[in-house]
Symmetry: C2
């Protein structure tokens, strides 16, 4: 059901997209709009725009389309009359769940639960997933501190006006370059771009350095190990310092690969050591798999590459999983109802789609495909950076979750636009990186279509 | 398409609900689960559970079902093949909107825009609506303070580690008893129940008293005016005090009727005066219509009852509007792209439903129906409280957005369960109130069904 290649009719954005952007500009800030899409005509790996341009999509709606556009399995689900009421009647899941909810969750989210985790809480997006995961961590941490879960009278009254001890000065440790969302709680752990943070009140929470490694990792293992050790030491220092400040670190949040921040990798060893530090200091370890989860690294969760039985206390997800949410260890489960709660608590119509997505991933062995395409992509990037050493460097990746650095931001931005006009939709990340975020149905031959066209673009620069 | 009355087969939760609750309990905290539902068989004002009980639903999924269950207009929309791709391909709206997005927004959200507001930003739930509204307010306020929108070098660097001046100590003033969501930013303005706030780090933001009025309002206008004046004075004091503390109030957030906090009303005069205070002190006025919006007060927005041309800088919505979001005045629009941004920025499939909901509201004159049913409901409540003065008091309401107080919390909770076993699904709010949150298709004869049964329940107590 895929098209056989890109097909360009205009430069992008074409005249119709420009017209619509102008129209929308009367209603919203449209500074971020790339172009308008024809989602009906989009298929598989190809996104079609309103001017009839058909582009190979290697960005997939900021990494959120799992199995391509208009996948027949998802369209079929829509035509099943038994599913209609799930779309039409959105329940308040926390109080009045539909009959099939436990089964659907078991069939979908629990079937891919990270090692050691038996409990999952659905949410509606990445931000509420992380915000509520933080809240679970704070509840757990305070109950540990108290030794019981009966708050004092002073806690009960002070919390109503945002004051300690009811609203304690707890913190979440995060990493420079990390991205965990943009609501104010999440934003206090996000440190990827100024534009996200400027002018926003925040919490005084510790920010550790994330290792800045040399690629390919195998070639620089000793230097990289030193850099990682430096960062780990800093993490411990910060935990101690913030405890002394009276703002103890209740949890550590980290991405298995820093995505928005520029596709920064670290070794499995780094994460195993960090996990141990979190244990040693009694902080919850929260792995944010919102962008890395769902199969794009060749395993369903990126943290599986660390090879651990007990990888974390909490793993959050969204994007390619279509629903947001987080897994947690039994002990992190909030002690009382209504502490982790909101009106919708997710959306069962997204769970319906997720069941089908997982079926397709299994039926079509998509994790193996991703591993295969990812190898071809990374090798292709290695060749291109050898061929254009003044332009490209630091090719890196796991599965198809790849990136490469460009000489500078301006050149990167120009390359992205030139590639787009030739039918390749790519995204940037960090200061000067290009990130690859294809769907799981991106095959080896798509890699070759990309490499050919990208080579042409580079040759012009 | 409605049923003709409740029909009860078991007490609630029945055996099947209990079984499913047990099953779900292995995966999640189920302390808040009331019972499991059969959404296929639910229709109009009636919610059917998995044990075949059919209840008149006066709570509607925490006030989030606008025109009843399985409304034919919404089901029809699902069978239109042109709509399928909107459900199957969720776009990153901020960068790659679908072709019909400007038209759909104009046809739906803009057609009901509050007075003076031409711009609307969709979001996915009430919390991200308020969080992003706060962010718009902070950007606007800081640019006013600066006199331009070019941040200093120090701001650019300090914001990356959550420190001032880049992350300034700005505050949002909120009201005791208010509810604006549960992500950490929203939660700092929420003050309705301990269980929401306890153990959560928060911001030192000012909390003003909300008027505690006597009902019926007409009978106590003088005392109530005094109480409102007291609260307004306190608001001004807090604004001055927080400015002196170095945490200036950038915005004031308020619900037109405090919903979760116990259905607390204030007079149009109170809100007009508060609006003036916000203008005088240069704070943005943010009206949270997440629960009050959508027609349940007899006008589309509750703030329309204030009769103002320029009611606010920002009005946020969610729940019955199916999509989240907020309207804003032109000057509140963020100055640069990507400052107000996330992966999905709403969900076009919810906009599709909203267009139909608005059509139904207009076609069936539902705002008039609400006014009519609301009058019958409030009069009925007045009669009941006259009849049971030891049990009931403080009946109040606007449209069908009504509430009544019960002697104490334990009696309130018992009444709710007894009513449920007789086929009336109601919700509590505040410490001892019962709230009425029917759909807009709740007609006068539904009011009478309710009053009859509720009378029977009261007679037993
Ligand atoms: S915060 Fe996640 S959907 Fe609103």
């Amino acid at each position: 059901y895929d098209y056989d290649g890109p097909l360009m009719k205009t430069t992008v954005p074409g005249p119709r997209s420009q017209e619509l952007t102008k129209q929308l500009g009367d209603i919203q800030n449209v500074g971020a709009v790339n172009f308008f899409c024809n989602y009906e005509d989009s298929r598989g790996n190809y996104l079609v725009d309103v001017d009839g341009n058909r582009m190979l999509d290697i960005y997939t709606q900021i990494s959120s389309i799992p199995i391509g556009y208009n996948h027949p399995a998802l369209l079929k689900l829509m035509t099943n009359p038994n599913n209609l009421s799930t779309f039409v009647n959105r329940p308040a899941l926390g109080i009045l769940p539909p009959e099939n909810f436990p089964d659907k969750i078991t069939e979908s989210l629990l079937s891919i639960a990270p090692s050691g985790m038996t409990r999952v809480q659905t949410m509606a997006c990445g931000s509420c997933s992380n915000e509520n995961a933080f809240k679970s961590i704070f509840i757990w941490y305070r109950n540990k501190e108290r030794g019981h879960n009966t708050p004092s009278e002073e806690e009960l009254t002070s919390c109503m006006t945002n004051q300690a001890p009811g609203c304690p000065d707890l913190s979440i440790l995060s990493f420079m370059g990390g991205f965990h969302g943009r609501t104010l709680g999440c934003l206090a752990t996000t440190h990827s771009k100024v534009i996200h943070k400027l002018d926003m009140p925040s919490f005084d929470w510790p920010v550790a350095p994330f290792p800045r490694l040399k690629y390919p990792l195998e070639e620089f293992s000793q230097e990289n190990a030193q850099e990682e050790a430096r960062c780990l030491e800093e993490v411990e220092d910060l935990i101690v310092k913030w405890r002394q400040k009276g703002k103890p670190v209740a949890g550590i949040i980290i991405e298995p690969i820093q995505a928005e921040g520029g596709d920064n990798h670290a070794s499995p060893d780094f994460f195993r050591n960090l996990r141990n530090i979190s244990r040693k200091h009694g902080c919850a370890f929260h792995v944010d798999e919102i962008q890395t989860g769902g199969g794009c690294t060749g395993k369903f969760w990126a943290h599986e590459h660390w090879g651990m039985d007990d990888p974390a206390e909490i793993v959050s997800f969204s994007k390619k999983l279509l629903t947001g949410g987080y897994y947690q260890k039994e002990e992190l489960q909030a002690d009382k109802p209504y502490r982790i709660f909101n009106t919708w608590m997710g959306d069962p119509s997204k769970n319906l789609f997720l069941v089908e997505v997982l079926n397709v991933i299994r039926r079509e062995n998509l994790l193996e495909e991703v591993t295969r395409s990812g190898k071809a992509l990374l090798n292709g990037l290695y060749e291109l950076q050898a061929q254009y050493p003044g332009l490209l460097s630091r090719a890196r990746g796991l599965g198809t979750f790849c990136a490469i650095d460009v000489r500078d931001a301006a050149t990167r931005d120009r390359l992205l636009l030139q590639a787009r006009d030739k039918g390749m939709l790519l995204g940037g990340c960090g200061d000067q990186s290009i990130r690859f975020r294809p769907a799981l149905v991106f095959k080896e031959y798509h890699v070759h279509i990309f490499l050919n066209i990208f080579n042409n673009v580079l040759a012009q620069n």
